[in-house]
Amino acid sequence: MVLIRKQHILHQLGLISLMLLFSACSTVSTVNQPSVQDKSTPAVTTAKAKPAPAPASTTTAPEPKINDAVEPITEQGNSVPVAPKTTSPVQQNSAVIALIGTAQQQQKSGDLYSAQTSLQRAQRIAPRDPYVYYELASIHRELHDYDLAEQVALKGISIVQGQPQQLHRFWTLIAQIRADSGDRKGASQAQQIADRY
C-alpha cells in the first residue's frame, strides 16, 4: 500500500517530490526497498526543518507523512537504520553565532581563556556545530596545547563527513597545528588530505 501511494506521488510531483519522499521514507524500511531512502537521514530532515539542537519532537512532527505512516514506523523499529555517508551543513543557531562572535573578539584581544569559556558554552548548546570545534581547536593551538587542538579538530571532522569545504578547512587547520608543534611530516600529510577536498 505504501508503495502504491509512493508511485502516485512520484509520477505527480517529479524530482522535488522525490526528494521529499526520501525524507519521509526514511522512517520506512521494508526489505523490498532500495537503500537510497535510507541515505537521507531523519536527522538531516529534522535539522532543515528546525534549528539545530531541537530534536524531532515525538508528538508534533512537522512532516504530515509521519503522522499517517503509523505502520512503517513500527516496521522501522525492527531494523537498524543505515548511517548516512554524508552529513548536511548545520543550520547555525543565533545563540551560537553570538557566542562564536564573542569568542572571536576575546581571541583577538588575547583573552584566550575567556574565548575558550565562550566556545564551551556554544558547544553545550550546539554540540554538532563544526564551527564551534574549529574555533575551539584554534584557541588550543594559540595556547600551544597542540595535542588537544588536533583532537578537537578531529572531533570536528567526525561531524562534517561528506562536506568537502569543511573537511578542507579542518585538515588545513590540523596541518597548521602540526606545523606549529614542529611535526613537519605530519603537517604535510594533513595538508595532502586537505588538498584532496
Partner: protein, 782 residues
C-alpha cells in the same frame, strides 16, 4: 588614691626609726585596697588593650569561615531550545521563583498556555554579569520559539541564575551567605532596630535607656518581651565570646561593645550583625545571618523580601528555636505581628502597610523546595574532585564558588524514572524485591559532562553513594569491549561465531563453563546477532580466541582505569565496576571512539569570581572511527531487535538509540547502558546484600532507562558513516552478499574491503553498489 599612696611614702622610709608607730589596722586595709585597685587598674588597662587588639584584629580580618558554594549549570535560554513549560517551571521552582498572575518583581514568573513572562534576578557569572531583566518567552511544540524583552527586542541568549545545590561547611557547621548592608531591605534593619535596640543609632555600645525601657516593658506586660542588650552587645556576645551565660562574660561584654563602637561606624557594626546572628538550625547545620535565613525560610534572596517576611526574620533573633516558623507557626506569627506593631507604633510604617502585612500568612517554604541537600550523590562527586585539588580548610572557609554541570531538570526526570520504576517492580514482584536499590548516571554524550547522578532509591539520602562506590559485576555490559576487540581485528559484523557449549580448564585446575541465558546453544551465529542477543557461549569463545590481554587493552582504550582481573569470566562481565566507570566506557562508544574524562565541575572561582581552576572539554581518539561505527550498528540492533527491543514500545521509531543490557551471575545485578544523540544513561538495580533479583537487565534496569529516556526530548543518535565504511546488502542468515530484493537481506556496514565476496545465490545481486541500484530503482518509475 594613687596620690594618697605617694603621700605615705615618707612614713615608710622612716620605718627604721624605733619611734615609728605601727600602722593602724585601718591604714593596713587602706594600703592593701589601694594596691589592689592599682593592680586591678593595670590589669584592666592591659586587658582593655588586649581586648582592643583582639576586637580590631578579628573585625578587620576574615570574620567568618564562609562555606564553598556549589551551583548547578545555569539554564541557557535561546530560541530553538527544546524545553517544555513544565521543565522551565521545575527550574524556576529550584530557584525559588514565585508563580504569580503578573510578574512585576525579580524572582516572579507568570505562565499562560504558550508564553512565560519571567523577571530574572541576574547573576555575576565568572565570565560576565547576567543582568536582571524581564523576559517574554514564547513556546511552541515544547520548544522555545522566541525570547524578547518587554520592549520587544529579541534576545539571542539569556542565562538564568544557577541553582545553589549545596556547600562545603566549616567544622562548626555554621552556614551563611554574606550580604552587604545595602542588600538588606530597609524594612529589615528598621524592624531589627525597632524590636531589638531602639537607640542603636544613638548609644555608644550600651544603652541604659534601653535597659530601663526593656524592664518597664517587661513589667508592664508581666513577662519577658525585650532584652536590654544592644545590637552591639549581641554582636560582641556572638562574635567574640563563648555562649556560656556567666557574669564574667556579661562584664566583658560592656567594655568590648564600647570599644567596638569606638573604632567602627554604626553601619559597619550593623552589617556584621546581619551576617553573624544565629537564625535557625537544620540538623547539624546552623543557619547564620539574614542572607542565608532569607533563602532558608523563604527560598528567596534577601533583596526580594517583603515587609511581613523581614518582620518574621527580625522577630526570630530572640529565639530561633522557640519561634521556629516551621515548627511553631502560630508563635512565629504572633512574634512577627508584634514586630509589625512596634514598627507601626513608632511611625515607621503606616496603617495601610501594617494592616496588609499583618494579614499575610507567614509563608515559609517547606524544606523540600529548598534545593540544598537535594543532590547528595552529585555533590558527593563534586566534593571528591575538589578535595583532590584544594585543602579542606580552604574549601570550608574561603567562600569558593563551584560551577558544575548538574542539570536539575534531567535530575528530576531521572529520579522520577528510578523511583516510579522501583515502585512498579514492587507491585509486580512484592516481597522478592524488598530493599531493592537502584542508581543512575546521566551524561551528555557529546561533551562528556555528567548531568545527573542518583546514589540510591532514597534520592536525598546522603549515605552510601552507589553510583560511585557500589562496585558490582557488570555482566554483559562488558560485551561491547569484547566485540570491539574483534571488529578491530579483522572480524566483520557478519563473521560467523560458534555458539556451541564451551568449557575451559584454567592453569589452577579450575574449569569455567559458561552457559547462555536460555540454556540453549545457537550453533553458528553472525557476530552482530551474538552481541545484540547477548549470547554468552559465542562471546566466551570469541574473547578467548582474541586473548584476554587484547580485550583488556580495549577496555583501557574505552576509559577503564581500575585494575582488571585477567580471568576468562571477565569476558562475561565478572569484573566489578561502578556506574560512573561504566558511563565512561559507554561514553567513548557514544562519542565515536573519542575518550573523554567525564566531568562534573566546570569552573572554580574565589568568592569574588576570579577563576581558580577550569576543567575544559578534553578528548582523545583512542578507538578508530570505523570499528566504533560497526559496534554502534550492533548496539542499535540490540535496541531494535535484540535484548533491549522493548525500548521501541515506548520510544518513537525515528529516534535511534544504542545500548546493552547486563545481568550478573544469579541475577544479582540488573544493568542497562545506552545512549541517544543527546543523552547517555547507565542504570543499575540490585540489592546491597547481593541477593538475587527476580528479573534480568531488561526486566529491571532497562525499564528505568526507558522510563527516563521517554521523559526527555531526545535527539536521534545519527553518526555519519566514516570514510572507511561501506554498507552492503547481506543475507542475515549466512552472511553472504545479497540483494535488496532478496529474502532475509539486510544492510550492514563493513570496513571497506572486508565485505563478503561470495554471493548467497539470490538472483540479480551482482550489482552490490547500493547507490547505483537505488538509482535504477528510481529510473523505473519514469
Amino acid at each position: 588614691m594613687v596620690a594618697k599612696k605617694k603621700a605615705q611614702r615618707p612614713k615608710r622610709s622612716a620605718r627604721l626609726s624605733p619611734k615609728t608607730k605601727k600602722p593602724t589596722f585601718k591604714q593596713k586595709v587602706m594600703s592593701f585596697l589601694s594596691k589592689l585597685v592599682f593592680a586591678g587598674l593595670v590589669i584592666f588597662s592591659l586587658s582593655l588593650l588586649f581586648m582592643d587588639t583582639h576586637i580590631r584584629k578579628q573585625f578587620e580580618g576574615k570574620r567568618w569561615a564562609v562555606p564553598t558554594k556549589v551551583y548547578a549549570r545555569p539554564l541557557e535560554l535561546y530560541a530553538g531550545l527544546p524545553l517544555s513549560q513544565e521543565d522551565l517551571k521545575t527550574e524556576l521552582r529550584g530557584l525559588g521563583y514565585k508563580f504569580v498572575q503578573q510578574a512585576r518583581e525579580p524572582g516572579q514568573a507568570e505562565f499562560s498556555s504558550t508564553k512565560a513572562n519571567i523577571r530574572t534576578r541576574g547573576f555575576p557569572f565568572p565570565d560576565g554579569n547576567e543582568p536582571a531583566q524581564q523576559l517574554n518567552i514564547g513556546f511552541s511544540n515544547q520548544t522555545i520559539a522566541s525570547i524578547t524583552t518587554n520592549s520587544g527586542q529579541s534576545l539571542p541568549l539569556v542565562r538564568l541564575e544557577p541553582i545553589l545545590i549545596g556547600g562545603i561547611y566549616p567544622l562548626n557547621n555554621e552556614d551563611r551567605d554574606l550580604i552587604q548592608l545595602s542588600d538588606a531591605p530597609q524594612g529589615l534593619t528598621d524592624a531589627l532596630i525597632a524590636i531589638e535596640d531602639r537607640d542603636f543609632y544613638q548609644h555608644a555600645g550600651i544603652s541604659l535607656k534601653g535597659i530601663s525601657r526593656a524592664m518597664w516593658v517587661n513589667l508592664k506586660a508581666g513577662h519577658f518581651i525585650q532584652g536590654g542588650s544592644t545590637l552591639t552587645q549581641q554582636l560582641i556576645k556572638n562574635f567574640y565570646l563563648t555562649s556560656e551565660r556567666s557574669l564574667a562574660r556579661k562584664v566583658m561584654e560592656i567594655p568590648m561593645a564600647m570599644l567596638l563602637e569606638l573604632h567602627y561606624s554604626k553601619d559597619e557594626i550593623l552589617e556584621a550583625y546581619l551576617n553573624e546572628v544565629y537564625l535557625g538550625q537544620e540538623g547539624s547545620r546552623a543557619i547564620h545571618g539574614f542572607g542565608l535565613a532569607s533563602q532558608y525560610y523563604f527560598a528567596q534572596p534577601i533583596e526580594e523580601l517583603q515587609l511581613h517576611q523581614v518582620a518574621l526574620l527580625a522577630g526570630l533573633v530572640k529565639g530561633p528555636s522557640y519561634y521556629d516558623p516551621r515548627r511553631h507557626p502560630e508563635r512565629a506569627k504572633k512574634r512577627r505581628d508584634l514586630v509589625l506593631k512596634v514598627l507601626y507604633e513608632q511611625g515607621t510604617i503606616d496603617k495601610k502597610h501594617y494592616d496588609h502585612a499583618v494579614a499575610m500568612p507567614i509563608g515559609v517554604v517547606k524544606h523540600a523546595s529548598l534545593l540544598k541537600g537535594a543532590y547528595p550523590a552529585y555533590l558527593d562527586l563534586v566534593k571528591r574532585q575538589l578535595r583532590q585539588e584544594y585543602r579542606e580548610e580552604d574549601l570550608s572557609s574561603e567562600g569558593l564558588r563551584v560551577f558544575t554541570a548538574l542539570n536539575p531538570i534531567a535530575q528530576h526526570k531521572a529520579e522520577t524514572a528510578l523511583v516510579s520504576t522501583i515502585s512498579k517492580l514492587n507491585t509486580i514482584y512484592g516481597k522478592r524485591v524488598t530493599d531493592l536499590q537502584g542508581s543512575m548516571v546521566v551524561a551528555e554524550p557529546q561533551t562528556g559532562e555528567i548531568i545527573s547522578i542518583i546514589g540510591g532509591r532514597n534520592t536525598r539520602y546522603q549515605g552510601f553513594n552507589r553510583a560511585l562506590d557500589a562496585v558490582r559485576p557488570i555482566g554483559s555490559l562488558i560485551k561491547p569491549a569484547v566485540y570491539l576487540t574483534a571488529l578491530s581485528h579483522n572480524y566483520t559484523l557478519v563473521s560467523e561465531l560458534d555458539d556451541s557449549p564451551y568449557k575451559i580448564t584454567m592453569q589452577n585446575g579450575q574449569s569455567w563453563q559458561p552457559d547462555n541465558f536460555d540454556h540453549q546453544s545457537h550453533g553458528l551465529v553472525p557476530l552482530h546477532t551474538a552481541l545484540s542477543h547477548s549470547y554468552n557461549l559465542s562471546t566466551a569463545r570469541l574473547g578467548m580466541s582474541l586473548g584476554l590481554d587484547r580485550v583488556i587493552d580495549t577496555m583501557r582504550k574505552l576509559g577503564v582505569t581500575r585494575p582488571i582481573d585477567p580471568y576468562p569470566s571477565l569476558l562475561l562481565g565478572a569484573q566489578g565496576m561502578s556506574l560512573v566507570e561504566v558511563a565512561t566506557l559507554y561514553q567513548t562508544i557514544a562519542a565515536n571512539g573519542f575518550q573523554m574524562p567525564l566531568r562534573a565541575i566546570r569552573m572554580v572561582t574565589d568568592s569574588a569570581g576570579n577563576e581558580l581552576s577550569r576543567y575544559p572539554f578534553q578528548l582523545k581518539q583512542t578507538i578508530d572511527a570505523d570499528s566504533i561505527h560497526l559496534l554502534q550498528y550492533a548496539l542499535q540492533e540490540t535496541a531494535r531487535l535484540g535484548t533491549a527491543r522493548s525500548i521501541y514500545q515506548s520510544l518513537p521509531a525515528d529516534i535511534n538509540v544504542a545500548g546493552k543490557t547486563g545481568t550478573s551471575n544469579d541475577q544479582r545485578d540488573s544493568w542497562f547502558a545506552g545512549f541517544s544523540g543527546n543523552r547517555l544513561a547507565v542504570t543499575w538495580l540490585g540489592r546491597d546484600d547481593n541477593a538475587p533479583l527476580p528479573f534480568t537487565g531488561s526486566g529491571g534496569a532497562l525499564k528505568v532507562w526507558i522510563n527516563y529516556m521517554s521523559s526527555e526530548q531526545l535527539e536521534s543518535f545519527n553518526s555519519a558513516a566514516p570514510d572507511g565504511i561501506e554498507y552492503h546488502w547481506v543475507n542475515s542468515i549466512n552472511g553472504l552478499l545479497s540483494n535488496n530484493s532478496c529474502p532475509n537481506a539486510i544492510q550492514v556496514p563493513f570496513i571497506i574491503g572486508t565485505q563478503p565476496t561470495e554471493s548467497d545465490g539470490c538472483a540479480g545481486n551482482t550489482n552490490s553498489d547500493p547507490v547505483s541500484r537505488s538509482l535504477d530503482w528510481i529510473k523505473q518509475w519514469f
